[in-house]
Symmetry: C2
Subunit: 341 residues, 2 copies
């Protein structure tokens, strides 16, 4: 049997399964990347009960720990229709779940791009989710920050007015977020630290080095990490897609290093309704303008300007996420990031 | 085309891929289950910088949060050869990564059972990994506990003597843990609380209710949660596999509720070398003896007694994990938990 048969059969199986997502999974797995050993000493010893009914256990906090690593999970489809693996980097106070099933239970970007034939690598940044976190103030320098539902509702432009009672929350008129699933989305929130940017960058750089030539998709806080990873490994990052990046490198000669990397920046709707984005959006627009002036290949899509309205900060969770993913897939096709069929 | 063709094609695709793990992925996704809204008020407001170069953000810790939920990820294979989904519940201070790729990069139990045709549901318990955790002492009552590498090395029976320098660590003679990957394993450790058993049980019970009839595989700390979930939903838990359960319900009439559920308890080697297990193993052995006396269907496999030596507490990460998974798969076949071929 020749390889072409495998493709045919996989397609047949997908059709027969009755589920749009059926696909041959060539391989899946996970790993931690980056990090180092940290040691503590001089703290008092206590006793604690860890399992109901079990006797107390002696707790000695002193010793060695692994810290500052990142968690990465990958799914490799067959056939592979993308030229490179797609690394998906979440925003602040969140984990890789950002890309997976949406809070309303519908397939998300991870499903979309896997089904489209991209090997998907979804990470939990340092200190978030399965990456684990370290004791503070002994290892991390500051305490963590817990995002409230109100802040997410407002800053993510879900709507103008949050209330504890879901029935009393006011959503953006014409907004695309599945507001009935907002509390489910809030279950995805994880604490974050303000003091870990440098170690997080190191772990992302280590991830790019480990996976090799790849396309990076970033959201929000990960914007800076993605642009910086491209600056640090311009021969390895083969494309960069930034969804509402919270920041970007300042214009300047440094950006000459990025001219060979196709970049796409996507912004949703109603930016003007929230001061955070009025303040933050100009960073990536200035970056794009400067990079373009230097001969770079960067495209900015402001969704309302192409007739797609109502998207908030969590574009990949919006009810029209497949439409936006389709725009991204089209851009990747135009940039030669997909395999010829 | 008839369904039989889909199976044939999937098998052909798997063979052609050249990877033993190739399999049709009918569906994959994730969800959070359980939890509730918690509100805080009266704490001081501060300012903090979250993204390098961004201006300071006002941090108001007061507000509403979702807490006490659990994270669950599932992969559904096609064809499905198991009668029920397999829920995989990790032990203390760990996450669902326990079941995924082993620290040495080899396929783990998640890969094994997915490939064998089980829908796999891997969870991160409340407070661990992607489940997120809540502020203490305002919401959780106690501070978290961070496991040291030394404690893991000793309590998990990797070896008798830990040292900071990997070259100076003493491993168990004939032990099966891939000791060169121990630091990689330590990157999987997450903090744990001692005060969350009741809320964790509620989330596991909610998971069983959501997924419906299923087989539950538990490890270490999850032993108690699994046995208790079976007691709480004896008609829904169709089988229970406990790997080195840290505890078990006390013998007594309550166990009459479990007599219709096939159960398998597996213990590794060198139990006598570590006081924790000398103390904890008798709980599950007494449970098994009492359940058997009541007409229950419970089997205990002590691996050295069936000629499999050198397994530590992390059986699913040991170099012979496929062999142990094979024993479990055989037991499931004998208990009618697999579909007839």
């Amino acid at each position: 049997m020749r390889p072409a048969m495998a493709i045919l059969c996989a397609t047949a199986a997908a059709v027969l399964s009755g589920a749009a997502e059926a696909q041959v999974l060539k391989e899946f797995g996970s790993f931690h990347v980056g990090g180092r050993q940290a040691s503590l000493s001089g703290y008092p010893v206590t006793e604690s009960v860890f399992t109901q009914g079990a006797p107390p256990t002696r707790v000695d906090p002193n010793g060695d720990f692994e810290v500052e690593q990142m968690y990465v999970q990958y799914l490799i489809p067959e056939p592979q229709r993308a030229r490179y693996p797609l690394l998906m980097w979440h925003g602040g106070g969140l984990t890789g779940v950002t890309w997976d099933t949406k809070p309303d239970g519908q397939p998300g970007f991870m499903q979309y791009f896997f089904r489209a034939g991209h090997p998907v690598y979804v990470s939990d940044a340092v200190e978030r989710g399965r990456a684990s976190w370290a004791r503070y103030p002994e290892i991390y320098k500051t305490p963590p920050f817990f995002r409230t539902k109100k802040e997410a509702w407002e800053q993510f432009r879900i709507g103008p007015a949050y209330a504890t009672d879901p029935a009393r929350r006011v959503a953006t008129p014409g907004g695309r977020f599945p507001v009935q699933a907002f509390d489910q989305f809030a279950k995805q929130f994880v604490p974050r630290w303000t003091s870990n940017d440098a170690i997080t960058q190191r772990a992302y750089d280590a991830l790019v080095e480990k996976v090799g030539p790849s396309v990076v998709m970033v959201h929000s806080q990960a914007g800076n990490f993605g642009f910086r990873a491209a600056l640090n490994a311009p021969g390895t990052v083969k494309g960069l897609i930034a969804l509402e990046p919270a920041g970007a490198p300042a214009p300047g000669p440094e950006l000459d290093r990025l001219t060979a990397i196709p970049m796409l920046i996507v912004w949703g709707d109603n930016i003007g309704s929230e001061p955070v984005w009025v303040r933050q959006q100009p960073f990536s627009l200035a970056f794009a303008a400067d990079l373009k002036a230097r001969g770079g290949d960067v495209e900015v899509i402001e969704l309302p300007k192409v007739g797609i309205t109502g998207n908030d900060h969590m574009i990949m969770m919006d009810t029209n996420s497949d439409q936006v993913a389709g725009l991204i897939e089209d851009w990747m096709r135009r940039k030669g990031l997909l395999r010829e069929r």
